[in-house]
Structures are given as C-alpha cells and as structure tokens.
C-alpha cells in the first residue's frame, strides 16, 4: 500500500513535476562555502553589500560582489535599492524547489518507518512465542 503510494508519487513527479533544468545555477551557487555563509547571514536579516563585505575581512569587496552576482543569477539573492545602498534579500524558493525535486522523494515517510518497525516487533514477538 505504502509502496504503491510512493511509486505513484515518483511517476506523477516525473510526469507533472517542476521543470528542473533551471536549477543548475542553484547547485553551482550552493557549492561554495563563502556563498553558503552569505546566505546564512542574509537569512538573519537583509544586508547591504558593504555590510556583507565587512563580514568577510579576508576577501576583497570585489570578490564578495562576485559571489553575490552568482547568488543573484541563481535567484537565491534578490537585490533592492534603498537610496544609494543596495540591500540583499535571501530568496529561499530555489532551495525549496531542490528539496521538492531531490530530497522529499528520497526521505522515507515517518509513517512508513513506523509501520515497518511494528511489523519487525510483531515478527520478533511471534518468534519468541513460537
């Protein structure tokens, strides 16, 4: 029963699932530790490019801006102008799309895990009784 639901899930996802070819830049953006750190900082609050550069004293401002550009192309960061400042906002939509496409389907539903556990325990109990 659970197996059927899971198979349907995968078939339906494959047939009607989100188009994922445009997620390539997201993987690329997430593959770098500095960019992941930038996303961590932005998930606390939006920050100006200057404030972000100050958080990475070991990097040049130019290098931080390059990282921001990669994040922006991947749609993970949305810039907003406020006066002459540029504020950077995190946009978690692409991460959720990756979750839908690559993670949710491989995570065993907890209900299924509980059913298996029950079967295992019952089998064990039968063996002991027999």
């Amino acid at each position: 029963m659970t197996g059927t639901i899971c198979d349907d899930n995968i078939t339906l996802m494959a047939t009607f699932g989100d188009r994922t070819e445009d997620l390539e830049p997201v993987w690329k953006a997430l593959s770098n530790a500095t960019r992941r750190r930038i996303l961590d900082l932005l998930s606390e609050q939006p920050r100006t490019t200057g404030a972000l550069a100050a958080a990475f004293p070991e990097l040049s401002r130019f290098a931080v801006m390059q990282h921001l550009r990669v994040l922006e192309e991947a749609d993970l960061v949305v810039p907003r102008r406020s006066g002459r400042e540029r504020y950077n906002y995190i946009n978690a939509v692409p991460i959720e799309r990756i979750h839908d496409r690559w993670i949710a389907r491989h995570v065993r539903p907890w209900t299924e895990a509980l059913v298996s556990l029950r079967h295992a325990l019952e089998a064990e109990a039968r063996e002991e009784a027999g």
Partner: protein
C-alpha cells in the same frame, strides 16, 4: 551596523522578498493573480474579491465563501506590473495590517514574479517567517500551474485535507463575522 540599518531595525522588522521565474507570458500571470470571483488554485484555492482600483476593499475567501482569510485594501494597480494591497490574516491577534506587493516583469523566456511583504512590526512576532513560507509555496505552485496547467498532486491533497479540517478554523475566519467588523 550602519545608522540606516539601526533605524530600520527600530522602526520595523525587515520586509520579506520571494521571487521566481515563470516560463509564461507576463499577461497570463497577471490575469491569474488578479482574477476576481473565481478560485485561484495557487493561492490555496481562495477567491479574490475586490475592485482593481486603489481604495477598494479586498478579501480572499474560501471557495465556498464561508471563510475569509485575508482582509485588506487595494493600494496600487498597474497592469501587468504591480498589484499592491494591505494584508491582514484573519487569524492574527494583531490588528496592524501589513503590505503585499506583487511585481511582475518580463524576462527572457517568460516573466519574473516577485512578492515583497512589508510592514512587519514586533507585534507580528513570528508571523513574518510563517507567511514567508506560505508565499514560497504559492510561487512554486503558481509556476507549475502556469507552465504545465496543473498543480502538484501533493498540493491538491493538502487542499483536500485542509477542507476536511476547516471546521477547526477559528471563529475569526467566519465570513459573517468579518462582514460585521470589516468595512475595509
């Protein structure tokens, strides 16, 4: 932290921004998000009721009109680019409304949809975060609906289950109550 950032933090909590590329013409997406009087599948199967002009009262109802989820007022309508309205969810404890801005822009291969939700104060507490998760889901479903004409089966299942449990929704979501209180 710069002086400007400190000012922003004191005055209000940061706005939330969500954005997605949709491989569909900007006019089609605009028509969907401003569709009045019929179910918008991406927006949790709600029905938008308003006039598309500034100052109009705005409501998002359940499909059967027994519940009202969002109350507000239209602030700006600039087809097919900007739709801005005030926003208060009927289950919120606070009366302080927030502001939702839909921005649509043509982009290679389709359009970009960006939602900026601002006006958050300390009264709203964790609501900004929770609502942000809602908008992200809405944009993902809207993308699929516009690109494939379908919404994911998981979303349909979720709507079905939400329907079953609608009797558990707080009294504040009842349509009659809102009509009494809210002139908007």
């Amino acid at each position: 932290m710069s002086g400007m950032e400190a000012d922003r933090a004191a005055a209000s909590l940061p706005e939330r921004v969500v954005s997605i590329h949709i491989a569909a013409p900007v006019d089609r997406v605009w028509a969907e998000i401003t569709k009045v009087g019929a179910v918008q599948r991406a927006l949790f199967d709600t029905v938008l009721e308003c006039e598309l002009r500034p100052g109009s009262r705005l409501r998002y109802y359940s499909a059967d009109r027994k519940r009202v989820f969002v109350v507000g007022e239209v602030v700006e309508v600039d087809p097919p680019r900007r739709f801005v309205h005030t926003y208060r969810f009927t289950t919120w404890k606070t009366e302080t409304p927030t502001l939702v801005a839909w921005e649509l822009a043509e982009e290679a291969g389709g359009c970009r949809v960006t939602i900026t939700h601002s006006g958050w104060t300390s009264e709203h507490g964790k609501l900004a975060e929770d609502t942000g998760a809602g908008w992200r889901g809405i944009l993902r479903v809207l993308k699929q609906e516009m690109e494939t004409g379908r919404i994911p089966w998981k979303t349909r299942l979720m709507y079905r289950v939400m329907g079953w449990f609608s009797f558990m929704l707080p009294r504040s979501t009842r349509n009659s109550d809102q009509n009494r209180n809210g002139s908007g």
